[in-house]
Symmetry: C2
Subunit: 234 residues, 2 copies
DNA sequence: GTCATTTTATGCGTGTGATCATAAATAAGA
DNA sequence: TCTTATTTATGATCACACGCATAAAATGAC
């Protein structure tokens, strides 16, 4: 399933060097409108970042391995998930364009806490640990916005943990939808369509597909959401 | 239950000003050995931080209210928890000496994600939002260690979420114990005694007391933990 | 268009943790 | 010491999500 990039250094030809000329012109077609850009792409490139186009399902790094890079999604999406021995998945987060992922190892030296997989055809840019930390050190404002991203994620985890532990399936799903609404992630910007499968909702809430399907139908009957042609609008 | 400190400014006489002379001498008796100090107390004091002695059960701030201060535990402990309408609690974290808490609002402007309550007789130091952000801006190294704390917390939340959603009660509890072992929090430093009640373990894992008690007994039968006089050693 | 694959949908028996009741053991205070 | 409150312990019943089977609907490839 895809190439394994858990090397201290990029494989030859995998991540493209950022020569001033070509830069991202090659993948303009993939670029989607981004409302929140973690770190400016051009800035990353001047600091020597490299990028790579990924096929759907391609693994970027695996849970438990050492991390030496800062990663940021340029276009497409990255699924950040845990897979246990029995094969059951927990989808921690779906990372959209402009967002970073897999930063923990850069700060605490521990291995990756989850596996990162390209959800669709995506472009990911990355920067070596040392360079990234230097960048943060030199740019307090960037560091501040990075801290903000971390706190927002932590806030969401707080909320989800609370719900996961106390609430019934419907509450869990509603909480997830609220998060989507706020983050405007995985939802068409024009409409309110939830753009992920019920299986993925199950993976993010710790429920089973059948339970998710049944709960969403209950939510519809209560008028909380609208279902058209199997798609959920909230 | 305690005084409410959710005011934009400290109540008169509540948080003590940090005059150079007395500073923390008044509460030396409360100070416990700290292995990890988020931000040096003296530095905080030079930046105009104020502190306060809290009785057990005293509320520091409430979930849903606005946050204008950076908080750090000097001595004792602070419980960071969610309480829902039906009164059921979820204990997000137990904050020990040297650790900060309730920082989300400082960065994203949203209300507190959880309520902070003094677990035992404690001393908490706090700094205004503006001053704290300035401090971070001026001290990249402190900002870096702060980021590290955030990532460590986020990592633990990742782990717990994964467990909460997938695993059985015994796994959940074992995960929590692992976290304690790593953080050496809420455990006697000399021995391995788990120093929190089963009710609190239940509050942190989303289980019921009875389930926790039964699960821990199962863990004992398997040799994973040792129980002496009702106390758990792991 | 047809066919294959994925996603959504529904029924039904089972298992497990929640819930309630009750009691023993430990801790805390006078 | 005795008394009270808190924590731990155990049994019995029940609700609810799980897990499996099966099928319909939607999506995608050709």
């Amino acid at each position: 399933m895809g190439t394994d990039f858990n090397q201290p250094l990029p494989l030859p030809g995998s991540y493209q060097p950022a020569s001033p000329a070509d830069s991202f012109d090659v993948c303009t077609g993939l670029q989607t409108p981004v409302d929140v850009v973690m770190i400016d792409i051009d800035l990353l490139l001047t600091w020597g970042a490299t990028y790579k186009k990924l096929e759907p399902g391609e693994i970027i790094f695996r849970e438990g391995t050492e991390g030496h890079f800062y990663h940021q999604v340029v276009s497409g999406s990255v699924h950040w998930l845990n897979v246990d021995d029995e094969g059951s998945e927990f989808l921690q987060e779906i990372i959209g364009p402009g967002e970073s992922f897999g930063e923990f190892p850069l700060f605490d030296g521990q291995p990756y806490a989850a596996t990162a997989v390209a959800g669709k055809e995506s472009v990911v840019i990355r920067l070596s640990k040392h360079t990234f930390l230097q960048l943060l050190h030199d740019n307090p404002c960037i560091h501040m916005s990075f801290t903000r991203l971390l706190t927002e994620r932590l806030r969401f985890k707080f909320l989800l943990l609370k719900e996961l532990s106390c609430a019934n399936p419907e509450h869990r799903i509603a909480t997830l939808f609220d998060h989507f609404k706020k983050a405007r992630k995985n939802i068409c910007s024009k409409c309110n369509r939830v753009n992920i499968t019920r299986q993925q909702i199950a993976d993010m809430t710790g429920l089973r597909v059948e339970t998710v399907i049944r709960s969403i139908r209950n939510l519809q009957e209560k008028g909380t959401v609208v279902i058209t042609k199997g798609k959920v609008y909230c």
